[in-house]
């Protein structure tokens, strides 16, 4: 079964709801959350399919299948369905969808959010759902009004016949009796009313008044609060615990072992946290306990020196390419481990009763969350309800669900509703990380500025094996652990010995033509847990590639923008972005002492170029302004696209200027925002976003703004100081 099977997008199933409405689902074979839709009937609302409910008083409720973590997905997807339904997304009630196969991400095949794909993959299905529903309402109105459907049209929630306007809600009872049209023709791009318009996000008001509910805000009568003390060296098991002092602390309710460490449960969070500090635990010694930061890079270098690599991609003739080059360069680039630090630390609240469970959290996969509760409690899936509230930032961190395992283990042990909250220290010290990476690039450039040879090796850990280890038990709750261990062990072996984990090397050549290239990989895994981090592999590969492009330009005496243009002749979308960036650059007035650096990168089907205006003040790198040029195809709501790119610049700047997770004998040294700094208002640059629309369907916006910023700043620093900084975070000599 291909997960891209287009037939999944067709509306196939028909049935009746309790409320008398029609129910229709997108057929997604392989998903197992069938049965009644998790939709509460609102005042005789008509539920044409999983995504909509229309009430007789003309309220339209949209059930958003993707998790809102700030990327604006609720507004974006509401706009897509609203466009074809002809109902202003701003006037919709937008709710998080419950768990059902009809909400599975068409590309992942499971209900999950990530990879900047939501708008891209729901673009087709939601337009069709909107168009078919509108056609159904027209048919119902035609019947009720005794006219032919062709005499009717619509306008923002109203059926129009002559001078009369009737709300959609007038026809829902009839609509529920009629067959749902299929394959209704979609609107032409030129006739879009809401797509391409700018209006406030549907969640802007709730998020400006404190009313928006996040996972941490769940409050269940009688609940107790838990914190977990986890291994200071990730993966170490508890050898022994002395609970005496902790048990004597005020408010402590219970101390229970969980698979990741020891949980302290108290009648208040801060009390649990205080008690946790006096818990005495001795942990087993594991190999990661020998690893300190300096050794990480040394080990990467050793692996490359041994040449024990697996090829990821090759094209053309490298030897001939180097022969054709007039200049050749070789350099190493390094990026450290990073934590995600979403501002809301991960948390979950679980209430288990005799034969059911209810979970409140904010995760990037509610299907995974339910699967873990099912696996651990043995309760039937249909009796486990998951409420996915707003996510206080995701960035990849909320795709891993170890906190759901912990809260379930605690709730099973204490027989009370429990809220588990990770402290910021837990988040920084005991999380999962963006892998550290060493990238060695040897490249040759001709006198015409064509990169004629491009030879790259990357050393570091792979995220896919860890991700499978974490996701398989969640997504396959009934598969026995022995089989799961076998599967994730196999993935680890596969990616270190036989083939390259795509996310480890993504972005090392794809932005450019590079006719003669070789990308090779050496897996060096120290055992620190790894996972997706906003823009994944691109977050480090772009730094290496775009720094080297700048070095080549300098060596060959070619303007850096011209070099990039010369090597994107066969990448028309990126070429167009670069041309726009070039024009923007020409019109800039750069103050004395300020310098521009550029970088470009394609990721998540989106092409982005960034120009950073930088100065050096009292030995500090100051970024004043960033111009971000992006081609995202059709921008659903251009203001939200701009906001994502602005935010991506800030997120990337934190990594450029400050971000590093260091290991000392296997323990993460950083612990809170004083030593794991985040960019703040007084260092935030102005961001000017220029959207280039080459036409075509929408592409990703959440992640692609991140990769170019680090190299753009590094390239500007080179201009300002002559120092070529090849390690992140950037540090002036």
């Amino acid at each position: 079964m291909s997960i891209r099977n287009v037939s999944r997008r067709r509306f196939l199933k028909l049935g009746a709801t309790a409320g008398g409405g029609l129910i229709i689902g997108v057929n997604l074979p392989g998903c197992s959350f069938s049965g009644a839709l998790p939709i509460e009937q609102e005042s005789d609302g008509f539920i044409p399919h999983a995504f909509l409910q229309i009430t007789p008083d003309n309220q339209v409720i949209f059930y958003c299948p993707s998790d809102e973590m700030g990327q604006g997905v609720r507004t974006g997807l509401a706009t897509i369905i609203g466009e074809e339904l002809d109902f202003h997304p701003r006037d919709m009630v937008v709710k998080a969808a419950g768990l059902h196969e009809d909400y599975a991400n068409p590309e992942f095949g499971v209900q999950a959010t990530g990879g900047s794909n939501a708008v891209r993959v729901f673009w087709g299905p939601l337009r069709q759902a909107g168009a078919d529903t509108r056609a159904l309402l027209l048919n119902a109105a035609a019947q009720d009004l005794g006219v032919s459907a062709s005499e009717l049209t619509t306008d923002n929630g109203y059926i129009i016949v002559g001078d009369d306007r009737f709300p959609y809600g007038d026809f829902v009872t009839t609509a529920a009796q009629l067959a749902m049209p299929t394959e209704t023709p979609l609107k032409s791009n030129a006739s879009f009313k809401y797509i391409g318009n700018e209006f406030s996000r549907v969640d802007a008001l709730a998020k400006s008044t404190g009313a928006a509910e996040f996972g941490i805000d769940a409050d269940i009568p009688g609940m107790v609060y838990a914190v977990v003390v986890r291994a200071p060296v990730a993966g170490a098991r508890v050898l022994s615990v002395d609970k005496t002092a902790a048990e004597a602390m005020p408010g402590v309710v219970a101390i229970v072992p969980v698979s990741s460490g020891i949980a302290v449960v108290a009648n208040a969070y801060w009390r649990a946290k205080n008690a946790a500090q006096v818990l005495e635990i001795s942990w087993e010694d594991i190999p990661l306990g020998q690893v300190s930061s300096a050794q990480v890079r040394t080990d990467f270098e050793a692996a490359l020196a041994e040449g024990d690599t697996v090829e990821a991609s090759t094209q053309g003739e490298l030897v001939a390419g180097f022969d054709a080059a007039s200049s050749t360069l070789e350099a190493d680039y390094f990026a450290p481990f990073l934590a995600h630090t979403p501002l809301e630390p991960v948390n979950a609240t679980l209430h288990i009763t005799d034969n059911s469970a209810e979970l409140w959290t904010g995760v990037q996969s509610i299907q995974g969350a339910q699967g873990l509760v099912e696996r651990l409690t043995g309760l039937p899936r249909s009796n486990i309800r998951v409420n996915n509230l707003y996510l206080g930032g995701g960035f990849g961190r909320r795709g891993t669900l170890t906190h759901i395992v912990e809260v379930t283990e605690i709730a099973m042990a204490i027989d009370k509703p429990v809220q588990l909250l990770w402290s910021r220290e837990d988040d920084i010290r005991n999380g999962l990380y963006r892998p550290a990476s060493l990238m060695r690039i040897k490249a040759g450039v001709t006198t015409d500025g064509i990169v004629s040879a491009w030879d790259v090796q990357r050393a570091g850990g792979n995220i896919t094996a860890d991700t499978l280890t974490n996701m398989l038990p969640a997504l396959l709750p009934s598969l026995p652990s022995s089989l799961l261990n076998g599967l994730s062990g196999f993935a680890e072996y596969l990616f270190s010995q036989w083939t390259v984990d795509p996310s480890s090397v993504e972005g090392l050549h794809e932005t450019y033509d590079f006719e003669n290239h070789r990308i090779a990989h050496a897996t060096v895994d120290h055992g620190l847990p790894l996972t997706f981090w906003r823009s994944v592999g691109h977050s480090y590969t772009a730094f290496a590639v775009e720094s080297m492009m700048d070095e080549l330009a300098d060596r060959a005496g070619i303007d850096p923008m011209s070099l990039r243009l010369a090597n994107t002749e066969n990448k028309p979308r990126m070429h167009g972005v670069l041309q726009t960036a070039q024009a923007a650059m020409k019109s800039m007035t750069v103050p004395d002492g300020h310098h521009l650096g550029i970088a470009a990168h394609s990721s998540f089907a989106t092409d982005v170029a960034e120009i950073a205006e930088v100065s050096i003040e009292n030995g500090e790198i100051r970024v004043h302004k960033v111009t971000c040029v992006a081609d995202v195809g059709t921008a659903i709501n251009p203001d939200i696209v701009r906001a994502q790119l602005e935010g991506a610049v800030m997120f990337g700047l934190t990594a450029t200027l400050y971000g590093r997770i260091d290991l000392d004998q296997g323990e993460v040294k950083q612990s809170n925002f004083h030593d794991y700094q985040i960019l703040r208002m007084d260092r935030a640059p102005a961001v000017d976003v220029i959207l280039v629309n080459s036409g075509g369907d929408p592409t990703g916006i959440g992640e692609p703004g991140v990769p170019p910023i680090a190299p753009a700043v590094a390239n500007a620093v080179f201009k300002a100081t002559g120092q070529r900084l090849r390690e992140l975070p950037l540090k002036l000599a």
Partner: protein
């Protein structure tokens, strides 16, 4: 027993006097708009007004606010929206939204003491509020739009 004023109402807190104000407000008084981000005074997510001054309440024991006036995001505007909240919607400021209560409370404290705040004033007053989603340019624009409104209003009064 600690008495103080919460969003205009007298309240009594009977729990431990070393409870951080943030948790007293969230878990005892059930006002969840103020957030926990670091627990160490480093991020500003928990910002409330204590007698009109913006304070980090994750490190402020409830005993320290006896007899004082506490305002949370829920009590910022009596009715309707505070001008900053309207500006937040207008400028499409929030992304994940988690930091925004704290940002707005810091901004409101700034504007009440300095209605004509400049970009530099904003940088200083808001530097304690982290936004991991990076909404800074919009936060700044939104505050400036309100500061400029008050500037216009004052100018008109003077010229009238």
């Amino acid at each position: 027993m600690i008495e103080f004023e919460l969003n205009g109402q007298p309240v009594v807190f009977n729990g431990a006097s070393d409870t951080p104000l943030l948790w007293a407000i969230r878990d005892h008084f059930k006002l969840k708009g103020s957030k926990f981000g670091c627990g160490a005074g480093l991020c500003g997510a928990c910002t409330m007004h204590v007698d009109s001054t913006a304070m980090r309440t994750c490190i402020l024991p409830v005993a320290a606010v006896a007899g004082k006036r506490i305002t949370t995001i829920e009590g910022l505007s009596g009715d309707g929206l505070h001008p900053l909240q309207a500006a937040w919607v207008e400028h499409n400021v929030p992304q994940c939204g988690y930091c925004q209560s704290g940002q707005i409370m810091s901004a409101a404290a700034l504007l009440s003491s300095n209605p004509r705040a400049t970009t530099d004033d904003i940088d200083q007053a808001l530097a304690g509020n982290i936004c991991r989603c990076g909404c800074y340019p919009r936060i700044k624009e939104a505050i400036l739009s309100v500061a400029e409104l008050s500037y216009d209003a004052t100018t008109e009064e003077t010229s009238a």
